[in-house]
């Protein structure tokens, strides 16, 4: 039993090393929080590690005046729509893939598996050309379509590996009782799949919320800018006002942080679980 828990020195060493990494993670965040509560003047004159010398919330007012609210709204819309699209579409596809395998269905699944291998960053140039030709350039809709498309391979794969494990007898019993494929899907598959839907919602949501390259290439107006892009616009506007930029960065993680606090266990299981499946 002792060997299972490791030696005493081993435990102390690992605790010290883990604490070292803890400091590396926390220190920049602490610096950022503190800097966001400075004014432009006190930022330049005070020690960035010591919370003294007049803290103020003026930077937060500055970033909202600069349009951060708009970026936030765009990000919320984009993320919510992408989550709804990818989760429902991939569950429907997974049900079909595990239930009735025609040649076309099998071929589709293989194509989507290969999609796992294509890094979206690599094909950003033709994606831009396509969106431009479709007259979707500089719209939120362009981001919804492309980011959802990029999330499909992982989503379908994860859903298939979940739906596959739903006992066939349950489905068979419902069909014998006069259920249709649709009632089976709605009354059995959908409710049973809630946990895996939540997992995918978190995983895809995080990727969409934080994506930078697609908004950078596919949009340009401030009115459709999402948060990560908006932050760099903010920096362009206030390159010398570090507290304002830090306040913007903090506000952009705040919604995720609140959600994370509420459902910490679920988030952590999701992130590791999607890939570990």
């Amino acid at each position: 039993v002792n060997a299972l828990r490791g030696s005493r020195t081993g435990r102390v060493v690992s605790l010290v090393l883990a604490t070292g990494w803890l400091v590396i993670v926390v220190a920049p965040l602490y610096y950022m929080i503190l800097a966001s509560f400075r004014t432009q003047g006190t930022y330049l004159t005070s020690n960035p590690w010591v919370p003294a010398g007049g803290l103020s919330a003026s930077s937060y007012r500055t970033v909202f005046a600069a349009g951060l609210g708009r970026y936030l709204l765009n990000s919320v819309i984009l993320t919510a729509v992408c989550i709804a699209l990818t989760v429902t579409m991939s569950l429907g596809a997974a049900y079909r893939i595990t239930r009735r395998r025609t040649r076309a269905v099998s071929a589709s699944f293989v194509v989507m598996l290969f999609g796992l291998a294509i890094p979206v960053q690599a094909i950003i140039v033709p994606i831009y050309v396509l969106i431009y030709k479709m007259h979707l350039y500089d719209t939120l809709f362009a981001l919804i379509l492309t980011l959802s498309a990029a999330a499909i391979p992982v989503s379908v794969l994860v859903m298939v590996s979940f739906v596959r494990d739903i006992p066939r007898e349950l489905i068979g019993a419902m069909l014998v009782d006069g259920g249709t494929e649709w009632t089976v899907f709605r009354q059995l598959i959908w409710p049973l799949s809630r946990p895996v839907m939540a997992t995918l919602a978190i995983y895809n949501g995080l990727n969409v919320w934080n994506n930078f390259l697609l908004p950078l290439v596919l949009t340009q107006s401030t009115s459709v800018a999402v948060l990560p892009l908006g932050l760099t616009k903010l920096e362009g506007l206030y390159s010398v006002n570090v507290p304002a930029v830090m306040a913007g960065v903090l506000l952009s993680v705040l919604p995720l942080l609140v959600l994370f606090m509420i459902m910490r266990r679920q988030v952590m299981n999701s992130l590791g679980g999607v890939i570990a499946r």
Binding site: V1, T232, G272
Partner: protein, 288 residues
């Protein structure tokens, strides 16, 4: 809603079609506005002649290699630590996840001001601790910047791989450890002889994700260094972005797109081979 149609349509239109278009565009000269002109292999010849491209390949390879070497041991160690169920480990694990919640843009802007040589937090530390080595031009010194970028990428992605390793470690059956302990194995032997072999799929998965991820890595470099100073952090994905959106050379940009995709796919096919996604697909065939 039931069916592979809608997701297939979306996926084909916005991933498969661009993929094919990239190959086609790599053989034309096109500025994005006029009519594309057939160019044969001249875009490809340009890639193999261009000294900037050669530098970018070297820098990209360096970032991929260094990222792997830096991130893997740290993530593995932290993953083993956080796999435990003790209360303090849960707290550590929760805090370790925080960088994952941040966007790359946010991370880049945070580190940019933190590393500022005049007002940055490290410069302040060097003053109060009298530690001159902390006072560097982190993002302007050609001999340092690449390593600073690698470190920031590690700060961003180690949390994710830590989670992967923690999940992998928890899935190792306890009975394996009990048996090994009965045979008199030491903690070190438990790690090398039981844990590590059991984690082989996690190691491969995490490694491939790291390699493909850093191969196409763009955001932090674009925001923080734009490839500089000089060409020291100029990577292929930045070359591609500049070729298309700064110089309007869509043909040449597509050459880079094809090269990045092919390397990405080659690496990921390795993943499919090693981790048994392929066997999962064939089990699917069998079940049908």
């Amino acid at each position: 809603m039931i069916g592979v149609g809608p997701p297939m349509l979306l996926f084909c239109l916005f991933i498969v079609v661009p993929m094919i278009a990239a190959v086609a565009l790599s053989f034309v000269k096109w500025n994005g506005l006029g009519t594309p002109v057939w160019a044969g292999g001249s875009n490809w010849a340009q890639f193999f002649r261009d000294p900037v491209a050669r530098t970018s390949v070297a820098v990209t390879a360096k970032i991929v290699g260094l990222s792997y070497v830096v991130q893997t041991p740290i993530a593995l160690a932290l993953g083993m630590f956080t796999a435990g169920r003790q209360r303090h480990k849960t707290v550590y694990a929760t805090i370790f996840v925080l960088p994952l919640l941040m966007s790359t843009a946010g991370i880049a802007l945070m580190w940019e001001s933190l590393l500022d040589p005049n007002f940055g937090a490290l410069t302040a530390l060097s003053k109060s601790w009298h530690a001159a080595f902390l006072n560097q031009n982190w993002l302007g010194d050609p001999s340092l910047t690449l390593y600073v970028v690698v470190a920031i990428i590690a700060w961003q992605f180690i949390p994710f791989h830590t989670l992967l390793y923690a999940v992998g470690r928890r899935q190792v059956p306890a009975v394996l450890y009990e048996a090994a302990v009965l045979d008199g194995a030491s903690p070190a032997q438990l790690f090398w002889r039981v844990t590590l072999p059991q984690l082989r799929y996690t190691i491969v998965t995490s490694g491939i994700l790291m390699i493909v991820g850093s191969l196409t890595y763009f955001d932090i470099i674009y925001i923080m260094t734009d490839g500089g100073p000089g060409y020291t952090t100029r990577v292929l994905s930045l070359d591609m972005y500049n070729a298309a959106f700064q110089q309007d050379q869509y043909g040449y940009a597509s050459v880079l797109a094809v090269i990045l995709s092919v390397i990405g796919i080659a690496v990921a096919v390795g993943l499919v081979r090693f981790t048994g996604f392929a066997s999962m697909a064939s089990q699917q065939e069998g079940a049908a």
